[in-house]
């Protein structure tokens, strides 16, 4: 375990550096350009150059602000974003600590990130930072509820809060918790989208968007302090994708049952997590931003009722099929496929007809003159 600790402390902080570069390359290719190409072969060392630049920037602390809180809040966000990695199992024996309340610990630590955000906004002594911090905190706290409810539906099936035990029950792709009931299928998407909102990524990045509130709660931060926020955001992204892949996509188990798992499962987790991170980046550069009332609307009026419905469904499923057997998994996968066909085929066709055609010019002229 100590060896795992050392390896984690050494390797995990390097992950966000790679992810920053990946984001720039992915965004570039989505926007039909190539991204950073000068530093190192194909621009691989760009993050290093960015880090050196940020170290040399002037460290400006707002004069009237709260100096202690200003300094401490990046540390809190950074520490909590990385503390989450302690409970995620990256392999059969590659995990820092096997907590029997693993997933709860993760939820608790991610709740502390809100504290850091609010402290950063307050200590900057700027209207825009405070407003951005409040918006961000409200968003994070709101979207924690669908996340918690999605975790609840998984925990109801796995009967344990221990992350390692949850993964051990997902041997092979048919046993992945995402396919176990049709309700966890829905819960995965609700969980994933809420996680995107939780880490303040587009389309939920109103608090830190460039055209809104300058940069939200990290407006007044420059240099290495800003770098801490930046790294913490990417680490948070990776952590949240790792949690989603552990809970729903089978973690370190492979696709085939009881198959020899490469590198103790590390490769499986990393591939699934990086795929989800790529989906997050893809969504960022494809979809427009949501307004703050739209994203609150989405959370409270759509995701939370859907999550409650999921929990109800998982509970009823657990009553009908007390033990997961081949029959229950086959029925669930059939229900998922039917649900997808219904949603995209039938509903999609009827929705694309549109409400009604716009009024013709004659009617418009009449209505304008009366």
């Amino acid at each position: 375990m100590l060896a795992c600790c050392v390896i984690f402390v050494a390797v995990v902080p390097l992950l966000p550096l790679g992810l920053v570069l990946a984001e720039r390359k992915v965004s570039a290719h989505i926007q039909d350009r190539v991204g950073p190409m000068r530093v190192g072969p194909h621009g691989i060392l760009q993050t290093l150059a960015d880090g050196v630049k940020l170290i040399f920037k002037e460290d400006h602390i707002p004069r009237e602000g709260d100096k202690f809180l200003f300094v401490v809040s990046p540390y809190i966000i950074f520490a909590c974003s990385f503390a989450v990695f302690a409970a995620i199992p990256f392999g059969r024996s590659i995990l820092v600590s096997e907590l029997n309340i693993g997933i709860f610990y993760i939820m608790a630590i991610s709740s502390v990130i809100v504290m850091g955000v609010i402290m950063a906004g307050w200590a900057s002594n700027s209207k825009w930072s405070l407003l951005g911090a409040m918006r961000s905190a409200a968003q994070i706290v709101s979207y924690e509820i669908p996340i918690g409810l999605g975790i609840l539906s998984v925990v109801m099936l796995a009967q344990t809060l221990n992350m390692q035990e949850i993964v051990k029950g997902q041997d092979g792709i048919a046993n992945w918790l995402i396919f176990r009931t049709p309700f966890t299928f829905i819960a995965f998407f609700v969980f994933f989208i809420s996680s995107i909102a939780e880490v303040n990524r587009t389309p939920f990045d109103l608090p830190e968007a460039e055209s809104e509130l300058v940069a939200g709660f990290h407006t007044e931060y420059s240099g290495m302090r800003f770098a801490l926020f930046f790294i913490a955001e990417y680490a948070n992204m990776f952590a949240v994708s790792a949690i989603a892949s552990t809970l729903f996509l089978g973690g370190w188990h492979g696709i085939v049952t009881r198959r020899a798992i490469t590198l103790g499962g590390l490769l499986g987790v990393v591939i699934k997590t990086l795929f989800l991170v790529f989906v997050m980046m893809w969504i960022r550069w494809t979809l427009p931003r949501l307004r703050v009332d739209q994203l609150m609307n989405l959370c409270w009026k759509y995701f939370i009722p859907i999550s409650f419905f999921n929990i109800l469904g998982v509970g009823i499923w657990g009553l009908i099929f007390p033990k997961d057997s081949r029959l229950s998994i086959i029925i669930s996968i059939a229900a998922i496929i039917l649900g997808l066909i219904f949603t995209f085929g039938v509903l999609g066709k009827s929705l694309s007809k549109g409400p009604k055609p716009p009024p013709s010019s004659a009617e418009r002229r009449v209505s304008a003159t009366t």
């Binding site: 309340i101 307050w122 694309s352």
Partner: protein
């Protein structure tokens, strides 16, 4: 054993110190942050006692929700720090007397033996011993079976509180146009967009039809 003693003292001193700083700090935002520190130390004490579920719930609910609420309110208030702190010396004697009375009551209750600190071994406990099942499972076994109705009742009370708060503060705005997202998403591109060819340099107005 020695590590546990050291950790206990660190956490206990932290809790008490943070609690004292809550009332002694000049800045209300600092007070709330010291309260959060007190919550964290208490969670650590809970973990040391073997109630890890309670510790995590403490952090999720208190730090993640209640303290955030406190911070929202405190940060949005217009506070005059000097005015708040005035009159401290005037109220110190009365406050001190009340504090001493409460302390004396606590000490009397604990010293008289009316409260048993040790769990009596001959009383049948409703939960299985902690080394057989996890904390969470033990709580769940009791809370959702024997006390299920009370649990639902507590949920109801919280729901009423939430609905009450919304009813009391909700204003219907008349000057805001609401969007119907389903209508917006279902718009047919053929009806919404029209492509027209305009010759460069052509005279005339943009025909609206």
């Amino acid at each position: 054993m020695i590590i546990q003693t050291i950790m206990f003292y660190v956490l206990a001193v932290g809790t008490v110190g943070a609690g004292v700083m809550v009332i002694a700090s000049r800045n209300p935002v600092h007070s709330v942050l010291f309260l959060i520190l007190a919550f964290f130390n208490s969670a650590g004490l809970f973990v040391m006692m073997g109630a890890e579920f309670l510790a995590m719930i403490l952090i999720i609910v208190y730090v993640g929700a209640v303290a955030v609420l406190f911070l929202f309110v405190v940060m949005m208030l217009d506070i005059n720090f000097a005015e708040l702190r005035a009159g401290f010396l005037q109220y110190l004697p009365i406050g001190g007397v009340i504090g001493i009375i409460l302390l004396a009551e606590l000490v009397m209750v604990f010293a008289s033996g009316a409260i048993e600190i040790e769990v009596p071994t001959n009383v049948a406990s409703p939960t299985p011993p902690p080394d057989e099942v996890t904390n969470t499972q033990a709580l769940g076994d009791v809370l959702y079976t024997r006390y299920a109705y009370l649990f639902q009742g507590a949920g109801f009370i919280l729901l009423i509180a939430m609905v009450g708060a919304i009813v009391l503060t909700h204003r219907r705005r008349t000057d805001v146009r609401r969007q119907r997202i389903a209508d917006q998403v279902a718009r047919d591109p053929k009806a919404a967009v029209r492509l027209t060819d305009i010759e460069p340099g052509a005279e005339g107005t943009w025909k609206s039809d």
